[in-house]
Subunit: 216 residues, 2 copies
Amino acid sequence: MSQLKKTDLTTIKRAPDRGSFDLDTIHAILDATPLCHIGYMVNEQPIVTPTIHWREGNQIYWHGSRISRTLVESEQAPVCLTVTHLDGLVLARSAFHHSANYRSVMVFGRPTFIEDRFEKTAALTALIDKMLPGRWDTLREMTEKEFAATSVLSLPLSEASAKIRAGGPSDLDSDLDFPVWAGVLPLTTVTGNPVPCPHNQTTIKTPDSLKDYQIG
Amino acid sequence: MSQLKKTDLTTIKRAPDRGSFDLDTIHAILDATPLCHIGYMVNEQPIVTPTIHWREGNQIYWHGSRISRTLVESEQAPVCLTVTHLDGLVLARSAFHHSANYRSVMVFGRPTFIEDRFEKTAALTALIDKMLPGRWDTLREMTEKEFAATSVLSLPLSEASAKIRAGGPSDLDSDLDFPVWAGVLPLTTVTGNPVPCPHNQTTIKTPDSLKDYQIG
């Protein structure tokens, strides 16, 4: 692999096509799913792990086991956190102009562990309450052992950018009357009916707020 | 970042929790969405790009512009291609046992460009026909310029593994009678109604086969 100059990396990080550095756009894309993919490096090998993330202000968080190798190795090491929504398949008149509609955010940085007890509790509370508002306070309290076994990493959104493609096919004008169907097949993520654990006490009803969970 | 031993990387690559090396499982997870996330390394920085992939047998493919820097740099360089389906949020009685249901595949390897004209055409045909069977033959033919501008990369599934979590919360037995709702909020990806391009000739109907498109 030939070496890139520093400026080239800056280009990749900072000037995406269809790109945006607008924080509202970045927040909206990050908040629309808990799933991200984080790229770490271990022994010259990129490792991309699916991870649950959450955001507060201009800070993004994820967590894992205190003894997770990728988590421990990633502290202060360069990572790339990417969130993508696949919004549709774009079918054009030529193979070349087939495409996909999507919203994506890439965040670069060197994550740090949250060591402060108060901050870590606040972060874990936010993780749970973003699934279901107010849920943290209804749960069996976290034990010291569980708290210690959980690591929370965090990254500022100072090096984040969004990339969006939306709309119909971008065919050549000369292809527009080619006799084949062109258009978009939209894709969306939806919630299904909540599946209660069979051990739930019979008096416990499924929370209405689960219906309000937003994804996509 | 401390250095890992070679054996440690092997552990990460080959022995995931909840893991499987069963090729049918790996194929099914890869085929259930065209979206993957590929981790490259550029100047010691991991870059995770959302990418459209497709599979034939035990080979996985993606494509891009011939002049794409990440594509060019990635040939013969180590990459990690990850596909993830987020299938549900798992709400437990304790914060610690909250989880997510998912199906995921990680593929490691050093990709190569497909240079052979016949193989490259076959690969691009497969990309289009996996969206909509038979579509390639209905399109305006690819020009030499378009063909040359498109690069196809490929990776064998020889270093691939699947990781799956399914089912309800794994609470401690001692928490099972804690008075809070526990269960799963399922998440699925669905197709919407096709949106025809306004330039389509009026005689062209929306193909029925779009309704058969499977995702998730």
